[in-house]
């Protein structure tokens, strides 16, 4: 599942036709790189504790509900 999500990751922007004028760096490449740098910087912050706590609480609530069901 997650394997095919990344399939176009490197190609999406790069595959677009780019106008590269002589003597200039490709502006699209620079935009794509900065976009990814920005995005990756947020991703690398990891998962804040509040979400791990929340998931744990949800999980616990679900288990409690199930054990009540079984009785």
């Amino acid at each position: 599942m997650s394997e095919d999500l990344g399939k176009n990751n490197d190609m999406n922007l790069a595959a677009q036709p780019q106008e590269v004028r002589p003597g200039t760096a490709s502006p699209n490449a620079s935009i794509s790189r900065k976009l990814r740098e920005f995005y990756d910087a947020v991703q690398e912050e990891g998962i804040p504790d509040r979400f791990l706590d929340l998931l744990e609480r949800l999980d616990q609530a679900e288990k409690n509900a199930k054990s009540v069901d079984m009785k």
Binding site: L5, N8, N12, S32, L35, F38, P48, F51
Partner: protein
């Protein structure tokens, strides 16, 4: 509960967890602020959890989560009304909050430029260019045609080039909003 359902359950939780950093980065891209983004992610987790039965195991969990988050974002925005109509004012206020979070100066500039894009263009370029979705998946998440996504991405790219290529007001940091207003007042 059958073993199969139990396994699906575990997979659901595992995939939800592993999608969170990406989902959160998308939320930051949409809202422009970490605190609002985290509230949005929290609401998304609750919704996803409550609707886990409606998720078909084996299908694209990440696209499903992104769709929930995006719907939640727009529905909250509609409820509140646009908090600030004046986008220049919104922009300078948003970025005075956590400028240090974007670290390097050129990334701050990029973030500011990204925030100046119309919502539909911003989400399109972020989904396709950073979050790792194919055009088709992005179209599904946004509920529009693939061609629409392509043209939004293309317009977003052009606009970002204009905003970043001309080494403009964003180089002047906190006064960027003022500089934009000044530029407009004295510009054509």
């Amino acid at each position: 509960m059958s073993n199969e359902a139990d396994t699906d359950d575990r997979i659901f939780k595992r995939d939800l967890l592993s999608s969170l950093p990406n989902l959160r980065a998308f939320a930051v891209s949409l809202t422009g602020r970490h605190d609002k983004a985290d509230d949005l992610v929290q609401d998304t987790i609750m919704k996803a959890w409550a609707n886990q039965k409606s998720f078909t195991a084996g299908t694209n969990m990440r696209a499903w989560l992104f769709t929930i988050l995006r719907n939640e974002f727009y529905s909250q925005m509609r409820k509140r009304g646009r908090e600030v109509q004046d986008t220049d004012g919104l922009f300078s206020e948003r970025f005075s909050v956590h400028p240090e979070q974007y670290g390097r100066l050129d990334l701050q500039d990029f973030r500011k430029a990204l925030d100046k894009l119309p919502d539909d263009q911003r989400e399109a370029i972020v989904l396709v260019g950073a979050a790792g979705f194919a055009y088709e998946e992005a179209a599904e998440i946004c509920g529009c045609a693939v061609g629409t996504i392509k043209s939004r991405v293309s317009r977003a790219r052009t606009r970002l080039q204009e905003l970043l290529g001309v080494s403009g007001e964003s180089d002047y940091g906190p006064d960027a909003g003022d500089a934009a207003i000044t530029a407009r007042a004295f510009g054509s």
